[in-house]
């Protein structure tokens, strides 16, 4: 199997699993308990929190809260801030946020909040000028994802935070860091960003664990009320093994950052160039710069995405698509639509996302086989005239 869907989820790193295992068996004590038996899990959480502090580039481990997933991190940040600033009823976000963020704002829109959704250009890059125009004194929150899950495009969140703070200091800035974590260096203490949410399973920790960075002066209300855990901000007995897991995964991600930025990027670029060269109806859906190193989004014109995925799956390749058919929603990707990707390519858009476990052999296999699949699938398409024109234009 060749797994190129690492923006959906990743394999658990073996050493992450090894570090977790003791806390799934013998070391089961509640870290809040007062006997010696509870010392080890309590220390393990402290250690994991320190690793997450370094991973975020935060100043203090008090700025780190463990959650159950990326969606919870986003909800905790957004709802927490809005609950503490009820007089401010304006929010700025983007048209290309992940549904866990977007649907949270749709919820607030129904409650009477005013929301501005900032658009992107054809390369997927955020319209910063539009964001500047929309910023007001009563803007409670500016919420922009660090990197987009479908395109990999990186948004200038540091500059955005700086602009927001210099023009409306009380406005909070939330950054969905789920797709940036482990792929590009994050160093929040050098920025004005108030909160960053991440999800463990996107960087080789298991599913079911996330984290939220919160700057010390930011006031939040908790999403889950109850006990004193996470300094009263997120009640519930700590998920010790998974907290250990995300801590270890973060440590490994820091160690492998250079590999990510060079080797993973090299393989991604090779895959991209290989496909664009050998498949006449392929087009890159983004620009080439300003992207996380592991992601490419390619549109195959006049062929539908789910059909491509099924044929890829038949030869053991896992990828994903922005096509309507794969989601069950009947609507193609809101991200690609916000970019204005033409209908000819929209439904046939495929995302390949690599990881540090992707090999040269994997990429060579994909480059070799995609033209074979496309040759078969373009023949089924009713748009033969259009395909013929495309072929001529590309000089094939």
């Amino acid at each position: 199997m060749i797994y190129l869907d690492n923006n959906a989820t990743t394999a658990i790193d073996k050493t992450v699993l090894e570090d977790m295992l003791p806390y799934l068996s013998g070391e089961y004590a509640n870290p809040s308990s007062m006997y010696d038996f509870a010392k080890k899990p309590a220390a393990a959480i402290r250690e994991a929190r320190a690793k997450m502090r370094d991973f975020f580039g935060a100043k203090d481990e008090k700025e780190i809260f463990f959650t159950s997933c990326g969606s919870e991190s986003a909800n905790m940040a957004i709802k927490g801030v809005l609950n503490c600033n009820k007089e401010k009823r304006h929010i700025i976000t983007t048209k290309v946020e992940h549904p866990c963020v977007l649907n949270t704002y749709k919820y607030y829109e129904k409650q009477g909040y005013e929301i501005d959704y900032i658009g992107v250009n054809a390369q997927g890059e955020l319209n910063f000028e539009e964001l500047k125009e929309k910023l007001r004194k009563d803007t409670a929150l500016v919420s922009v994802m660090w990197a987009n899950n479908e395109t990999g495009v990186i948004h200038p969140v540091e500059e955005i935070a700086e602009y927001v703070k210099s023009h409306s200091p009380e406005t909070r800035v939330y950054v969905d860091g789920v797709q940036a974590a482990g792929k590009i260096p994050i160093n929040v203490k050098e920025t004005q960003i108030d909160m960053v949410g991440v999800s463990g399973h996107k960087f080789h920790a298991p599913k079911g664990i996330g984290a939220l960075y919160v700057k010390p002066d930011v006031r939040l209300t908790p999403l889950v009320n109850g006990g004193h855990q996470e300094r009263g901000m997120r009640a519930g007995t700590e998920n010790v093994p998974y907290i250990v897991g995300i801590g270890k995964a973060a440590e490994l991600a820091m160690e492998n950052m250079n590999h990510e930025l060079t080797e993973v990027k090299r393989l991604r670029d090779k895959l991209e160039a290989g496909i664009l060269k050998s498949v006449f109806n392929a087009r890159l859906n983004t620009g080439i710069s300003n992207r996380v190193p592991n992601t490419t989004n390619i549109g195959f014109e006049y062929v539908e995405g789910e059909l491509i995925l099924l044929h890829l799956s038949d030869i053991g390749i896992c990828a994903s698509s922005g096509s309507a058919c794969t989601s069950g929603s009947l609507e193609p990707s809101h991200v690609l639509r916000a970019m204005g990707i033409p209908f000819t390519a929209l439904h046939g858009s495929i995302r390949f996302s690599l990881s540090r476990f992707t090999t040269e052999k994997d990429i060579d296999f994909v480059i070799k086989n995609i033209p074979v699949i496309m040759d078969k699938l373009t023949k089924i398409s009713p748009f033969q005239t259009e395909l013929e024109e495309l072929r001529k234009r590309k000089g094939v």
Binding site: Q111, E304, E306, L310, F343
Partner: protein, 277 residues
């Protein structure tokens, strides 16, 4: 991951009768590129028999499988036999389709219908009520009232969600869901004609809004010691004044949007916006 039957897998992997018949006698089309799936069906006749059928499909695995199996089902059949095939038959022949994918079988049926219509001069659908219209109900996916009516009838659909699964209507912006519900209700009331709501005249709208406020909204607010007054209606902007306990209540804005506005949208017009003056 969809739970596709073995037959669906076989037909998308090895689609039968792919391509174009150059001198086809009948060509049927359904769907569009913008909507995410489209099908072209070519028929070669021998007398009143379908001697050959080929297809070209832009669509997902189940769309290709539906098209492919449809060609197998109709080759060798007379046109009279072929016109009896419904989307349900196509889905059954495939060993079933996931609910959300039933619209793929409907697309197959529509392309067949489109081809046969040309042969029968557009009048072969004896069992379709003539009164239903070609009026587009779902503008996102270009689904007509006729198509929805057909899908309800053949597949015994009861809910809006089912209609969406079978026809895609209502699957994008969702604005036509009220209309789809009306069509379902009309169908089961045994009426021949599914009435599409004509836009209300300004006077009708004002009357209807004030009636809904008076009979449904006001009594609810009165329970909490408040009330509501209709001040003005300007197109879809409904200007109201909250009175009694509602006045100055910190939940007033919420009451306005999530209660007053949602009832008016439901009962009168989905585009209504309520404002407090």
């Amino acid at each position: 991951m969809w739970d596709y039957s073995e037959k669906v897998l076989d037909h998308y992997r090895n689609p039968r009768n792919v391509g174009k018949i150059d001198n086809a006698d009948l060509i049927g089309e359904a769907g569009s590129l913008a909507c995410g799936d489209s099908l072209k069906l070519y028929l070669k006749l021998d007398g009143n028999k379908i001697a050959d059928a080929k297809f070209q499909t832009f669509g997902c695995g189940s769309a290709v499988a539906s098209s492919s199996i449809l060609t197998e089902m109709i080759i060798g059949k007379t046109l009279d036999e072929a016109k009896k095939i419904t989307n349900k038959d196509i889905a059954e022949e495939l060993g079933g389709l996931p609910q959300e994918k039933m619209h793929c079988s409907v697309m197959g049926h529509e392309a067949l219908e489109d081809a046969l219509k040309k042969y029968y001069g557009g009048k072969y659908e004896e069992n379709t009520p003539v009164e239903t219209s070609d009026k587009i109900v779902c503008t996102c996916f270009n689904v007509t009232e006729n198509q929805i009516w057909e899908a309800i009838k053949i597949n015994n659909l009861k809910t809006v969600e089912e209609v969406t699964n079978y026809t895609k209507a209502g699957g994008a912006c969702g604005r036509c869901k009220g209309l789809i519900k009306d069509i379902i209700d009309t169908y089961y009331k045994g009426l021949n004609k599914a009435e599409i709501k004509e836009p209300l005249t300004a006077t009708q709208k004002i009357l209807k809004i004030s009636k809904v406020i008076e009979q449904q909204i006001s009594p609810e607010l009165q329970k909490d010691g408040g009330d509501i007054e209709l001040i003005d209606i300007d197109g879809n902007k409904v200007k109201v004044k909250l009175t009694g306990m509602c006045q100055g209540c910190k939940n007033a804005q919420m009451t306005l949007k999530s209660f007053v506005e949602s009832i008016l949208r439901d009962k009168v017009d989905t585009n209504i916006e309520v404002e407090q003056v």
